[in-house]
Symmetry: C2
Subunit: 336 residues, 2 copies
């Protein structure tokens, strides 16, 4: 059912599929190039809530409830949910999902969480530990600004390398099945730390982690970039994407023909003030669970690598002079 | 290999074992009733670090390195590590483990994290997704006070229902094997929320989650309390333990003959100023990975339930008037 190949890639013989998925997003994301692809969008990023943290919780609630509705499955028939987010103690997930009464293992991988939740869910499904699992994550521009930088009311200025946290959520239903988009391989990331300390340049901090995981996957599977339709990173943004391509090229592996990045895709920098692009768990969460999954189900994409990257720092660690350790988890998806 | 029984308990046919484990603890824990059982203790809770957060990271580093040394396995032969802690963005884990270069999926279950990391690791091992996995968690009194309450320098007074966060860490190596302590079942917790809002009474907030998981496990496995040598909760403390027994008794299920709680065991309230007992991921982490695992390996215990409980709030959610959602994950261990 499950076999380990190479140094650390997990291969599924059993047909583990993403049966369905939902991406929800906020106002600015709706106005971006992928606006029409999101399953649900909000014109008011408050979502009718009193605080930004509660707004973010509502994003997750909305995504999961829409997924249940779309698939016609009730919450009590979901065996397990893997959820995580960027907020302290992952409160978007716990408060967003508490009323569903689904058994839950909370996940933390910073912005890599979407790939992590799908990965861990896929092992539970392939092994029979669960028949139906949901993977979900979220982020919100205003809760993230308050958490990691400054409350938006301060009107702080951003550096050109900074990224804009996406207001959005992605939820995917992982099951066993013979048709649909299969999860063929997963590769868990290792922490990389090249001593980058600029919390306004997350892309640069995360690029080495993405390069590490992608290289390990190619070695483990004995494949190369041209074998794939798309090599999609989570939220490296403009700066991190450039650096990733350079790092890979330095290793003799040119991914420039296949690479794209959710953080570069979700906004249009020519008309939207987003500096180096989008970021946050909800960035690749919403893009992957809507636009990319739609492309896969229409067979416009058939064989892709999804690598979500996470910066594993906190404001406290940065204040204490620490660098930014990063991680990237990979999911290989194919149409059967 | 893995089968689901009842409403949500996972049973392992394959022999998934805890091959070895290490519990490390601080000064007060050393002076408590279990002091002699910890593998490593520290007389200075700073562990030679400049900040409490770095001290907590050092606890995890120490626990994992001691586990590798004890088992003679190098870090590169560990397939995956499941780690989590209480600090914002789980920095004790990421900074404590970054130099090991082991693939990692970060976990967040608040004080339930030790049972969660063992549970998720056991599915990876039973399914063949990994051959060797480490489950690890930590907490530190001083970093937790600063994070969740007030910096210790303020000398704030505590209520009698409050618990003292344990300075400690537990690490366990999960593998397949035919001898040793087996992981027979796991039951993932569901979020329970009885609208308790007092962040100084975590035991009361968490007891309903423990009761929910334990009842579901008994129903799924068609067993009862007297079938077990010990029903060990994580860190309900004195107040929460009493409430759990009352809740279970109200359901016609008397666990008072088998129940104990790591938070009640780790300190001696007659001589240590710990109010309602110990708490934190490192509480059941250090107690389970040292004292309890030693009892199991000596066959003084042979069939136990380990239920770690977590309070899924943050200071922000409490300040916004939210209640404290809780969760409890169960691991059933038997000597083969």
């Amino acid at each position: 059912m499950i076999k380990r190949i190479g140094e650390g890639t997990i291969e599924f013989d059993e047909d583990v599929i993403i049966e369905s998925s939902v991406g929800v997003a906020g106002k600015d994301e709706k106005q971006g190039p992928l606006g029409e692809y999101f399953d649900i969008t909000f014109d008011d990023d408050r979502l009718g809530q009193e605080t930004w943290e509660k707004s973010e919780s509502a994003l997750q609630t909305t995504a999961v409830q829409a997924l249940l509705k779309k698939t016609g499955i009730s919450a009590k028939n979901i065996d397990i949910i893997f959820a995580g987010d960027l907020l302290n103690q992952c409160i978007s997930s716990t408060f967003g999902l508490r009323d569903l009464k689904i058994p839950m293992y909370g996940q933390y991988g910073a912005c890599s969480t979407m790939a992590q939740t799908i990965s861990v869910a896929s092992v539970f499904i392939a092994s029979g530990a669960a028949d139906r699992a949901i993977a979900v994550t979220s982020s919100h521009f205003c809760s993230a600004e308050r958490q990691f930088r400054l409350p938006i009311e301060y009107g702080g200025q951003k550096t050109p390398t900074s990224q804009r946290t996406v207001t959005g959520s992605g939820a995917a239903l992982i099951t066993r099945g013979c048709s649909g988009t299969k999860i063929k391989h997963i590769t868990a990331g290792r922490i990389n730390d090249l001593n980058i300390k600029d919390a306004n340049n997350m892309g640069a901090a995360m690029a080495p982690a993405a390069a590490d995981t992608i290289k390990r996957f190619f070695t483990d599977t004995n494949t190369r970039p041209s074998d794939y339709d798309l090599i999609l990173t989570g939220d490296l943004g403009k700066v991190g994407s450039k650096l990733l391509k350079e790092l890979m090229e330095g290793e003799g592996c040119d991914i420039s023909g296949q690479h794209n990045d959710c953080g570069c895709m979700i906004f249009d920098p020519s008309v939207q003030d987003v500096h180096a692009g989008g970021s946050g768990c909800g960035c690749c969460g919403s893009v992957f669970c809507s636009y990319i999954m739609q492309k896969l189900s229409k067979h416009e994409l058939n064989n892709i690598l999804f690598i979500a990257t996470g910066a594993l720092m906190s404001p406290t660690s940065s204040q204490q002079g620490e660098s930014i350790p990063s991680i990237a988890h990979l999911v290989h998806l194919v149409n059967g």
